[in-house]
């Protein structure tokens, strides 16, 4: 039981690390919490479900569709909203409220468009075989999901650390003022990261029905909270932090389900509260205070 819980928790956690990645990037670069993050995840899920049921498009293809589509949506949202917000009196607080409003809008639109019934993808969508490991078998859909998540996290890492634009992103994360003073195209970088963040959220959403069962338009806020917890557990602006946060969440959840099942819903909330009160800089954070 322990092994199964642990391995499932790891697979689960890798996915959730990926799910939180977009939130992490946007938070890191723009110091804004995208409270509509979970709603974009759910929208990605709907893309996959619609594509499969009405057009018979495999979720693997939907991954690309969701990424590209919501990258464009992100760009479309950035320019009317964010520059105006950045110039306001209290961007951090106001952005929180703005994205909360956006989340309400998205939820309402999803109810109107997709109805209220929970929707799902069949777990057999990647075939019926399973993966045997340490005497246990795990469904193939989980393995595929975890692999895709790992690949995307790695790609994000490579983007951030081995490309010129990625370097600019890290510069903006590190010190926005200094990045501006160095002549980096800060606004354009922010726009791209915002769009990537939303695109990644939707992309993880494609896989989400396979990991969390089913989606409905109200699933968003819960996912945002989990993603926020993961980002805070890991640490800001570090894709590896997302993985660490995701693993902590996934493994704790599965162990809790095994040994104290009726309390398992508390896992993300308790983890969040513990980490913000004990080590707000996150597990990987260095806690440097800038004088």
């Amino acid at each position: 039981m322990f092994t199964y819980s642990l391995v499932s928790g790891i697979l689960f956690g890798i996915f959730f690390g990926f799910m939180a990645l977009g939130l992490n990037l946007i938070f890191g670069v723009m110091e804004m919490v995208n409270l509509a993050h979970g709603d974009f995840v759910v929208l990605g899920g709907y893309v996959a479900i619609m594509a499969l049921t009405s057009l018979h498009i495999n979720p693997v293809v939907s991954l690309v569709i969701a990424l590209v589509l919501f990258f464009l949506v992100g760009l479309g949202l950035f320019f009317p909203l964010i520059p105006r917000l950045s110039n306001s009196r209290d961007p951090e607080m106001l952005s929180l409220i703005l994205f909360f409003g956006l989340s309400q809008v998205l939820e309402a639109l999803m109810v109107i468009k997709f109805g209220v019934n929970p929707e799902s993808l069949p777990l057999s969508v990647f075939g019926n075989s399973s993966w045997h490991f340490l005497g246990q078998s795990y469904q193939i859909a989980w393995i595929v999901t975890a692999l895709v998540s790992l690949v995307m996290i790695t790609l994000t890492y490579v983007f951030l650390y081995y490309t010129s634009l990625g370097r600019a992103v890290r510069a903006v994360m590190g010190n926005r003022e200094e990045a501006l003073a160095s002549g980096l195209p800060v606004k354009r970088t922010s726009a791209i990261i915002f769009a990537i963040g939303i695109g990644l959220a939707a992309m993880s959403g494609v896989l989400s029905p396979l990991m969390i069962g089913s989606l409905d338009p109200t699933s968003g806020l819960g996912l945002t909270t989990i993603a926020f917890a993961i980002v805070v557990i890991g640490s800001l602006g570090n894709p590896l932090g997302s993985v660490v946060g995701g693993l902590v969440y996934g493994v704790s959840l599965m162990l809790m389900q095994t040994y104290l099942s009726s309390w398992s819903v508390l896992v993300p909330y308790l983890l969040l509260l513990i980490i913000v009160l004990v080590k707000p800089s996150g597990l990987l954070g260095k806690g440097v205070r800038h004088a």
């Binding site: 600019a168 890290r170 002549g183 980096l184």
Partner: protein, 234 residues
């Protein structure tokens, strides 16, 4: 025609002017020192030159191009570079900081530049993989200087290069500047440390947002009144 030509510049926060009617020229290849106490408006002037603060009125011309309304990234591409008091991005490695400085160069050129800077400043090569936050104050200044050189600018705006430095490091900084004295980019150096006057071609004194004196360092030396008023040295 001066490389940088500022005419009747007014800059401020909200409706309040911090700089009033500033006129200033920097000739190509020269080192100009902008002398002034804390709060006299030096940083405000440099930031407005860099496009980090909006200009209320006046004109900034670089070479023949009017850059008054351009954003900072466009000014960097036009040949300006700004060495702020912080100067580096602490969370990035030394090499990444250099890369940021050469953001608009081609990949090959950027590598070439980094290589030549490593040769000139071996300390940077030693620490190239370390985050800038691990450097000492002096090393950070050197990195910051190397970072602005990366972009091959025509004019470097320096904001208090002596700030926070031990005297030995200040001297080293001045020596480094001296090696660029007659060739390389032009410098506009905002300072309150008079030691920077040694190698300067020209000096402006800024007080309360206005240019109160301009001339060669020798002219300044001769002007006892200015010295007394601004440096409290009697």
């Amino acid at each position: 025609m001066a490389l940088l030509h500022i005419s009747s510049l007014y800059v401020g926060y909200n409706s309040l002017n911090v700089l009033t009617d500033v006129n200033l020229d920097v000739e190509a290849g020269t080192q100009v020192v902008l002398l002034g106490a804390n709060g006299s408006g030096k940083t405000t002037l440099l930031k407005s030159l860099m496009g980090l603060l909006p200009v209320h009125a006046g004109q900034i011309v670089l070479d023949t191009q009017d850059i008054t309304r351009l954003g900072p990234s466009a000014r960097v591409r036009a040949g300006l570079a700004y060495l702020s008091e912080i100067g580096v991005i602490a969370s990035l490695s030394v090499e990444d900081n250099l890369n940021i400085g050469g953001y608009y160069l081609t990949r090959t050129l950027r590598r070439q530049q980094i290589r030549s800077l490593y040769q000139q400043l071996p300390i940077l090569y030693e620490k190239r993989k370390n985050p800038a936050s691990s450097l000492s104050g002096g090393q950070r200044k050197i990195l910051a200087f190397a970072k602005v050189l990366m972009g091959q600018p025509r004019l470097i705006l320096m904001d208090e290069p002596s700030a926070g430095l031990a005297p030995v490091m200040v001297n080293e900084m001045i020596q480094i500047l001296n090696t660029y004295r007659s060739h390389g980019p032009a410098f506009l150096i905002a300072e309150q440390n008079v030691k920077f006057l040694e190698g300067a071609h020209y000096v402006y004194v800024l007080d309360n947002g206005q240019i109160r004196f301009q001339g060669t360092p020798q002219d300044l030396d001769a002007d006892a009144h200015i010295k007394a008023a601004y440096f409290g040295l009697t």
